[in-house]
C-alpha cells in the first residue's frame, strides 16, 4: 500500500507544480511553412518521430492484390496457383536509423547524383560507353530541381542550401558500388538519384541497402530493378514491364499480329527489356518467331535481318539504343521489309529520327510518359528548363527533375535523417504531382502510373494512351493468385 500512496503523492505534487512552470517555447511546426504535406503524411511523420530505436512504426503498409497490373492471361504459369507471391505487401525498414539525430555542423545539404555523364569504357558495349547523352540530360533535370529549391530558401528548417554532389557512373569493374559507398560514408549525402545502366543500378542499390540510404531511380526501366525487395529503392519512371504489356496488347490484341520478330541489344537493357514481350507473346498463344541479339555499336545488321526475313514475321520489335534502332530500321526497309516496327522508348529521340530519316514514319515506341499532355506542371517546368539550358527537356531530364524534387520534398518533410526520408517517400498517400504526370508508388515503390505509345507521324512524335488507341487488355484480377481458385475450379 505504501508505494501506492507515494505514487499518489508524487502525482499530486507534480500536478500542483504544473501551473508554476514557465510557458514552453512556441512549438516548431512539424513541417516548415511552404512545404506541402497532407494529413496522411503528417500522421506518418508523427509516428516516425515518436518511435525509439528499437521500435518499428506502423506505417500503414500498402497491400496490393495484383503485381504490376498484370492481367490473368499474362501471369507466369497462369494455370497454376503459385505457392507464394512476392511484392504485394510494401517493404518496410525495421532498423534503428530513425533515431539518428540531425547533425549540427552542416554547411550544405548534399544530395547525390550518379549518372553516365562522361565518356568511359562500357561493359555493355565492350568498348566506348553509350549513355552519356541520356545522363547529361538527367543531370540537367536534377540540377534544375536543386537550383529551384535553393531559390526558395534551400533546406527550410535550417536555411541551408542544397548541394548536388555529382559523380560519373563509370560502370567499369563495378565502380558504381564504390561511388555509392563514398556517398554513404566518406562524402555523405542524404539521398541519391541515379542511374541509367541496369547492371550499374543493381550494384548501386545493393550498396544502398547495406548502407541504408535512399536510391531514387529516374532512368533505368529494367523491371527487375525494383524486384529486389529493397526498402531503400524507388523509381519514378514507368518500366519496361508496363511498356511491354501495352505494346504486346497493341500488337496482338488490337492489331492481331501473330508472328513477332525481336532484335535487341545483347546487353542487360535489351535482355531484360524484351522479357515481357517475349513471355507475353507466348502466353497469348503466339510465341516470338525469332529473337536476335546484336553487340552494341555495329553498323551492319545483315545477319539479324537475314534471320528476320527467313522467319517471315508480321511485326518487328527492337529493344536497344536509338542509333542501333535507326540503323536496323533503315536496313530493313532497304531490304524491302516493310513490317510495322516497334521500339523501346530510347527510339524517341532526335538521334533516331535523324538517322532513320523517312523510314521513321509510322514507328511506334513504348513511352513512360506523355509530353503532349495538357499538364501545367510540365508546361512550367518546360519553360524554366528552356530558360536555364536553352533546349527542350526530354525524358531523362524531366524524370530526373521529378525524382530530385521528390527527394527534396522528403528531406524538407522528414528532416536530415535517411530512414525518415525513406519513410516519407515510401508512404506518400497521394501520387507525386510531377512534371511528367502523376507518379503513384506501388507496394514495391515503383512508378505505377500510366505509360504510353509514341508514334512518329508526319515528322513528329505523338503520344497515345491505351484509351486513345482503344487497346484492349486482359482481365486484371482483384484477388491475389494464391487466394484464387484454379481456372478449372472457377469454371466448376
Amino acid at each position: 500500500m505504501k508505494p501506492l500512496l507515494l505514487a499518489l503523492l508524487c502525482v499530486s505534487l507534480f500536478a500542483e507544480d504544473a501551473p508554476k512552470k514557465a510557458s514552453p517555447p512556441a512549438k516548431q511546426p512539424l513541417v516548415p511553412a511552404g512545404v506541402e504535406v497532407d494529413a496522411g503524411t503528417l500522421e506518418i511523420l508523427r509516428r516516425i518521430n515518436a518511435v525509439g530505436p528499437y521500435e518499428v512504426p506502423d506505417l500503414r503498409l500498402k497491400r496490393e492484390t495484383n503485381y504490376a497490373h498484370t492481367s490473368t492471361d499474362l501471369e507466369p504459369y497462369g494455370g497454376i496457383k503459385p505457392y507464394k507471391e512476392h511484392f504485394l505487401t510494401q517493404m518496410e525498414y525495421t532498423g534503428p536509423g530513425r533515431t539518428i539525430p540531425e547533425p549540427t555542423d552542416l554547411k550544405t545539404v548534399k544530395i547525390g547524383f550518379i549518372g553516365p555523364i562522361q565518356s568511359t569504357v562500357s561493359i555493355a558495349t565492350g568498348g566506348k560507353s553509350h549513355e552519356e547523352a541520356l545522363g547529361v540530360k538527367m543531370l540537367a533535370g536534377a540540377r534544375l530541381a536543386i537550383e529551384e529549391a535553393n531559390a526558395k530558401g534551400g533546406y527550410l528548417r535550417r536555411k541551408l542550401p542544397f548541394e548536388l554532389a555529382v559523380v560519373n557512373d563509370n560502370g567499369l569493374w563495378g565502380s558504381t558500388g564504390n561511388e555509392v559507398v563514398k556517398f554513404a560514408y566518406t562524402e555523405p549525402v542524404w539521398a541519391i538519384l541515379g542511374t541509367i545502366d541496369s547492371a550499374n543500378s543493381h550494384i548501386a542499390i545493393r550498396v544502398a541497402l547495406k548502407a541504408e540510404i535512399v536510391m531514387m531511380n529516374s532512368g533505368d526501366t529494367d523491371p527487375t530493378f525494383i524486384e529486389t525487395n529493397i526498402p531503400w529503392t524507388m523509381r519514378c519512371i514507368g518500366d519496361d514491364r508496363q511498356m511491354g504489356y501495352m505494346m504486346i496488347d497493341y500488337i496482338m490484341r488490337k492489331m492481331q499480329y501473330k508472328r513477332i520478330g525481336i532484335v535487341r541489344s545483347s546487353n542487360r537493357y535489351g535482355r531484360f527489356g524484351v522479357r515481357e514481350i517475349r513471355d507475353s507473346s507466348r502466353r497469348l498463344g503466339h510465341p516470338v518467331a525469332i529473337e536476335m541479339a546484336y553487340k552494341v555499336g555495329l553498323d551492319d545488321y545483315s545477319l539479324q535481318i537475314d534471320r528476320l526475313q527467313e522467319a517471315n514475321v508480321d511485326a518487328i520489335v527492337h529493344w536497344g539504343d536509338a542509333r542501333e534502332g535507326a540503323i536496323i530500321l533503315k536496313q530493313l526497309r532497304a531490304r524491302g521489309m516493310n513490317q510495322p516496327y516497334f521500339c523501346s522508348d530510347r527510339a524517341v529521340s532526335k538521334e533516331f529520327t535523324n538517322l532513320a530519316g523517312a523510314a521513321a514514319e509510322g514507328v511506334i515506341a513504348g513511352f513512360p510518359w506523355d509530353p503532349e499532355a495538357r499538364n501545367p506542371r510540365f508546361d512550367a517546368f518546360r519553360e524554366r528548363y528552356k530558360k536555364r539550358f536553352n533546349e527542350e527537356p526530354e525524358t531523362y531530364a524531366a524524370h530526373a527533375y521529378d525524382g530530385m524534387n521528390m527527394l527534396i520534398w522528403a528531406v524538407q518533410v522528414a528532416g536530415l535523417n535517411r530512414a525518415k526520408i525513406r519513410d516519407i517517400l515510401a508512404t506518400r498517400s497521394k501520387p507525386w504531382p510531377g512534371a511528367t504526370g502523376d507518379i503513384p508508388f506501388s507496394a514495391v515503390l515503383d512508378d505505377a502510373g500510366e505509360v504510353f505509345l509514341a508514334r512518329f507521324e508526319k515528322g513528329a512524335w505523338h503520344y497515345y494512351s491505351r484509351e486513345q488507341l482503344q487497346i484492349p487488355r486482359g482481365y486484371i484480377p482483384v484477388r491475389e493468385r494464391v487466394a484464387r481458385g484454379l481456372e478449372t475450379e472457377e469454371k466448376k
Partner: protein, 383 residues
Amino acid sequence: MKFLTTTALLLIPAVACAQAPAAKKLPYVYTKWKQFTKADGLPNDHIFAVKSDGDRLWVGTEGGLALIDKKTGKVKSWTEKDGLPFRVVTGIDIDPKTGDVWLALFGGGLARFSAGRFDHWHQLNSGLVNDVVYGVAVENNNVWAATTAGASRMNMVTGEWTIFTEKNAPMEEIWNYGVHYRDGKVHLAVWGSGVLEYDIATERWKDYLDPDAEMEIDLYRDDGIVHVITTGANYVDKVLWVSTYFGVCRYDGRNWRAFYNMDSGIPSDFNNNLRARSGNEAWFATDKGLGGIMDAATNTWVAYTRDPKSNTGKAIVSRDKTVLETVEMGLNLPHNYIIAIDTDGNDIFVGTAKGLAWGIGDGYYAGVKERPRIITENRSKAK
C-alpha cells in the same frame, strides 16, 4: 565486468513442472544472453560481421573492427586511425593455419590483420575485382572475396589472383554477396544468380537457380532455391542452406525444402544472412528477429525477438506454424534487425543494427528432445 549481463529469470520449480503439460519433444532455447554495444567499447553499434575464434570474438562494424575477449569481456577496437584500411567491415574469416584475420571491407577492398599489422589489397594493387567486398572466406591456401563485381581468389602462397565473373563461371549476374568454404566446396551467394558451387577437387562450377525463373512468385515450395536474389549460403554436413530476401531454403543433395514466414517459425522472409550449425540446424538473420531452425526434419523453429519498449525479450518455439512454447526472458537481442550470425561450440553470436548479442548455450543440445516446457508465462511471478 563492463559488459551487461542479462540472464533470463526462469522459474522451473518442481511444483511448476508438475503443473506443466506433458513433456514434448522440444528444441533447446537460449535463455542466457550478454550484449555488447559502444558503451562496452565497440567502435560502432551497427554490426556487419561476427566471427568466433576460440576465446576471441571478432566483430566487424560500420565504424571499425573489434575483438572481444570472451573470458574477460574486454573489448579492443581498431579504426582507420589504427591502420584499418577502411572503416566498414562486412566480413571476417580466420585462417586456421596461421590465425590471420581476413577482413572484407565495404568499399575498401580486402585486408589481412596479422601480428598487429593490416595488409591491404584493393582494385589498384591486386587482382581484387572490386573494392566493395561483402564476404570473405579462407579455403586451404586461398582466400576468396565476394565483391559487387565478381569473386576474386588469391593464393596466399603464390600471390596469384583469379577473378570469377560471367566470363569464366556460370554467373548470370556478377553481384556476389556471400562466400563460404567447407568440406571441399566454395559456395557463392550471388544476387540475381542464385548459389554457385565450386568444387575444389574438380575445379568445376555448379549453379543452383530458382526453377520457375520468375521474380514475383515461387511456383512450387520445394522445387529449388526460393529466389535468385540470394544473400548467404552455408554448406554443412553435405547440406546446403540458403538465405534470401524472399525466404530461406535447404538442400540435402536430393531434396529442396523452402521455409517462409507463412509456413514456419522464421520471423520474416527478409533475410540478411545465415549461419548453419549442422545439416539439421541453421540460424537466419532477419529484419524482424533471429530465427533458428533447430530441427529441420520436423520444421521446428525458435524465433528470438526483443521487446522494443523494455529490456526484455522472448523466444517462440514453433513447429510449422503451431506455437509450442513461448519463453519470456530478460534482454536477449540488442535489436531485432539482425545482420550477422556465428556459432561456436554451444554458443551463438548475433550482430544486429544496434549491438551484439552473445547467447550462452549452457546445456545446449542439438535437435529436439523430450523436456518440460519452460514456465515463464508470468514473469512477474518469476521475479
